[in-house]
């Protein structure tokens, strides 16, 4: 009897204890806006830029051989040694949006990837080079069919495909669109340098897809809602990402049917490679290859106002050359 009583008392005490422990007097509340500002948030995107050198901001190289033009373009800006120091972990962010072969020009050409990865390892003495993107089509198919997986792996780079866990919510201070939105952060967490490599493409909504639009790949979630305000989102992405260097490959330009293309008849040989520490300047020049004016791309002036770069690229005295 006593033992039974003791057991009963213990059970009652346990039940009350558990109830007390888990007791929630309020119930679920309306969600407070949790804001992760850049810089205060540990997993945010670091500033990858290197100190500015006047007269070595942008280079424009004419030529057909991507390996040669991209090497020359980087050499003009001070060589890869200016951007990549021994022991650096370099992330390369190409445009691998679509599952189309390199010949259709909808994705960054693998030859540029090969050349830049080799430069990073051989002259920059990088510890590691990572190639990654958050594709629009199926990522594995995009990386395989675009030839980027093969080129990157052959040159010794690590190819990273997106996973849900690689995204963290971020808020851009001073922005109005990137608020508590999932951003592709994890591959950049341990990186020390970031190089964006974009093809040059027509885009019906934003008129052109170049180095600034290339950062769209960092947006996670149902990112397509931002197409309602395409110019501001491109400008905000350019504010969010501070790359070491951007490369705009205008060896061929997708003149029509962009950004997917799908036919070689959408392409035109423009034989130009641009390397730049200033994304706005690179894209402002790039617009000329699409027969556009910088004023046709409102995101350029929005980004300039935000201090991202300079629309008037000629004022930066681009370094020009032709390689054959």
């Amino acid at each position: 009897m006593l033992i039974r009583g003791a057991k009963a008392a213990a059970s009652i005490a346990a039940a009350v204890g558990v109830a007390r422990w888990l007791y929630d007097p309020k119930g679920p509340q309306a969600k407070k806006e949790e804001v992760n500002f850049l810089g205060t948030f540990a997993k945010g995107l670091p500033d990858f830029s290197v100190p500015r050198k006047d007269g070595q901001v942008i280079s424009i190289i004419k030529g057909q051989d991507r390996a040669k033009t991209v090497s020359k373009a980087i050499e003009f800006l001070g060589g890869i040694e200016r951007f990549v120091s021994p022991g650096d972990v370099v992330v390369i962010k190409p445009n691998v949006g679509f599952a189309t072969p390199p010949i259709l020009g909808a994705t960054t050409h693998p030859d540029v990837i090969t050349a830049v990865v080799k430069l990073c390892y051989e002259k920059g003495k990088a510890k590691k080079v990572i190639v990654t993107d958050n594709s629009i089509n199926d990522p594995a198919s995009c990386f395989t069919i675009s030839g980027i997986s093969k080129a990157a792996s052959a040159a010794g780079a690590e190819v990273v495909m997106p996973r849900d866990s690689y995204f963290s919510p971020l808020t851009l201070e001073g922005g109005s669109l990137i608020k508590d939105w999932p951003i592709y952060c994890a591959p950049f967490a341990k990186a020390t340098k970031l190089i964006g490599i974009a093809p040059l493409k027509n885009h019906h909504r934003s008129a052109a897809s170049m180095t600034m639009k290339n950062w769209y790949g960092l947006l996670g979630g149902r990112r397509n809602v931002f197409h309602q305000d395409i110019n501001n989102i491109i400008a905000e992405l350019a504010m969010l990402v501070k790359p070491t260097l951007v490369i705009l490959d205008g060896t061929v330009t997708m003149m029509t049917n962009g950004p997917t293309g799908g036919s070689v008849s959408d392409l035109k040989k423009t034989n130009t490679m641009i390397a730049s520490c200033d994304m706005v300047a690179a894209d402002a020049f790039g617009s000329s290859l699409l027969n556009l004016k910088p004023a046709d791309l409102p995101y350029l002036s929005i980004a300039e106002k935000a201090g991202v770069g300079t629309v008037d690229y000629e004022s930066l005295k681009p370094l020009r050359a032709e390689v054959t």
Binding site: F98, A99, T100, P101, I136, N137, D138, P139, A140, S141, T144, I145, M161, P162, R163, D164, H203, H204, R205, R222, N224, V225, H227, Q228, D229, I230, N231, N232, T256, N257, P259, T260, G261, G262, S263, S265, D266, A295, P298, Y299, S301, I302
Partner: protein
């Protein structure tokens, strides 16, 4: 080594092989991806797959030739497939063993007695074959619902592996989704758990493949049997009898799955695998003629009865969008096994097991759901047709899919057509720029084009107070910066229109051009909208637009099967 040990090694080996073939059914170049692994080998060995398609199509599809080997070996050796190879059988045997460990010998013997209900599986077989065999009425292949190889393939590919994928990343993409996965799992789990009641419950009572192999094992040259008519009747031979075939007396030879447990368990060595019939007598398939006739008639009538829904003809459901290369619906339903291989291999996860929206017979057949997965049906992919074991989805080439090379005149294969739901589309009905669908349309020239219009925004007519330089002072408050996105314009009464580059609460700034020097009057704030339209001659129905549409619940552009290449009667174009 004991023969039962050899058998266990065999079963383990073939189960591991089956599992390996499931794992490698993903597109890629690594050794653990598809490469040239014969991933359909178990389905190709399955003679019920071959028989079912022979009855429904009148032809013996080349890829299924291995099944003839199974039939020949069964005629020589008996039901070796069930006891030695079938991966589902191996699962049943293992679970049955676990569930009955520790039971008394008498109890085990009682569990393994022959039961009259074991004839049900023959009736299941006849029912399914009846549904397939009369194309003049209606012919539909439903063996895959219960045929153990498609069943176990579907269960592993669409449920069990994806559960592990969520943590282990066996596939290179993010977690996979399969609608109706729960139902597939429920059938699988029920079949497996029934072993706790009676060992190999599924094999003994339900399995239509076992029934078929049982019938032909009646001709087998070697068979299990007693070497003397009399024994002490200790029944130890039935302690672990997997087939429930009563080797102690007149053996039911069609039920014997060649587990060889009886031969091992007989302390007097009275049981042998031999060419003479058992000296204690043999009993052939025990099924009533009445039952067979009833099943056959039911099957023959069931197929046209299901078709009364009209789901294959005039009442077809628009959402049944089949993978590229799929045959026309009636032919497709004669071949599809519901094995799930196409759904597993699809790199974008867009191929899903259907419910009954396309008719009862369409359960678990492949349909495209563009809301699931990573990206509609990719232009540069024909994986589903390459893995289909019965060619319900033809093994098309990339050229045929895209209408290139020798297929230029035929044009690309259309899965359906995209339709814009103007009531849900942001530019069409909400004055918001968008055209994500147009951007992502992968064909060249794009099948989605835009009609570009300027529309005055709500409350967008404002009176001019003053015009200075390129700034228009207005008399009413507007939201600051709202119209400075590059998409808004200001329209003067003289018809001239300027892009707005900035705006405050009471002024509008223009950066390009020179505005008219008017001192009064009104201007309209307009938004430039690109309204998406579909060119049905170009649209292939790939569904990338539907996948990408930002209206995430019910998409504002959706694919339905009108215009699909496989059905002439669903065409839209003249």
């Amino acid at each position: 080594m004991k023969i039962t040990t050899v058998r266990r090694i065999h079963q383990l080996f073939f189960f591991a092989l089956f599992l390996w073939f499931c794992i490698v059914t993903t597109v890629g170049e690594k050794f653990w991806q598809i490469r040239n692994w014969p991933i359909n080998w178990f389905l190709q060995l399955d003679p019920l797959v071959a028989l079912g398609t022979i009855l429904s199509t009148g032809k013996f599809y080349w890829s299924l030739h291995c099944a003839l080997g199974t039939v020949i070996l069964t005629i020589i050796f008996g039901r070796f497939f069930c006891g030695w190879i079938c991966p589902f059988g191996a699962i049943h045997q293992f679970v049955g063993y676990l569930g009955n460990r520790g039971k008394k010998v008498a109890e085990k013997i009682r569990l393994n007695i022959y039961r009259n209900a074991q004839c049900v599986k023959y009736l299941v077989l006849v029912l399914f074959l009846g549904m397939a065999a009369f194309p003049s009425l209606a012919s539909t292949l439903q063996t895959g619902l219960l045929d153990p190889i498609p069943l176990v393939t579907r269960s592993f590919q669409l449920v069990l592996l994806p559960i592990f994928d969520r943590g282990a990343y066996l596939t290179p993409v993010n977690a996979r989704y399969y609608e109706l996965g729960w139902l597939i799992l429920a059938v699988f789990a029920t079949a497996v758990l029934l072993n706790l009641i009676i060992p190999r419950f599924y094999c003994r009572f339900i399995c239509p493949l076992g029934a078929f192999l049982g019938i032909i094992s009646g001709f087998s040259i070697w068979r299990i049997g007693k070497t003397k008519p009399q024994c002490i009747n200790c029944k130890m031979c039935e302690k672990a009898c997997e087939g429930g075939c009563e080797p102690s007396s007149s053996i039911k030879i069609a039920e014997c799955v060649l587990c060889f447990n009886c031969r091992d368990d007989c302390k007097h060595d009275l049981i042998a695998y031999q060419t003479v019939p058992s000296l204690a007598g043999e009993t052939q398939v025990d099924v009533s003629r009445r039952g067979v006739v009833l099943s056959l008639v039911s099957g023959v009538l069931a197929a046209p009865a299901i078709r009364l829904s009209g789901k294959v003809t005039s009442n077809w459901y628009a959402g049944v969008v089949r993978p590229p290369g799929a045959l026309a619906e009636p032919e497709f339903l004669k071949r599809c096994l519901k094995c799930g291989q196409c759904m597993r291999v699809c790199p974008t996860n867009v191929i899903q097991p259907a419910g009954i929206e396309g008719g009862l017979e369409g359960l678990w057949t492949p349909i495209l759901n563009n809301r699931i997965g990573s990206s509609g049906c990719q232009l540069n992919c024909v994986a589903c047709g390459q893995v289909c074991p019965t060619s319900a989805i033809r093994p098309i080439t990339l050229d045929e899919k895209s209408g290139l090379g020798e297929f230029v005149s035929a044009g690309p294969i259309k899965l359906g057509t995209a339709f814009v739901d103007q009531g849900r589309c942001l530019p069409w009905s909400m004055d918001k720029p968008c055209i994500v669908c147009q951007e992502n349309c992968p064909v060249s020239p794009k099948a989605i084009f835009t009609k570009d219009v300027f529309t005055t925004v709500r409350d967008g007519v404002v009176s001019i107070k003053q015009v200075t330089e390129n700034t228009i002072e207005i008399d009413r408050c507007i939201p600051a910066d709202k119209f400075a996105t590059g998409d808004y314009y200001v329209l003067f009464e003289d018809g001239s229109r300027y892009k707005i580059s900035s705006n405050t609460a009471t002024s509008i700034g223009i950066s390009e051009g020179k505005v008219p020097a008017v001192a009064a009057g009104k201007v309209e704030i307009q938004v430039r909208l690109q309204k998406p339209c579909v060119d049905i001659e170009k649209c292939t129905g790939c569904g990338v637009c539907e996948h990408e549409c930002p209206v995430s619940g019910k998409r504002a552009i959706r694919i339905t099967a009108e215009g699909e290449t496989r059905s002439k009667d669903r065409r839209l174009l003249l």
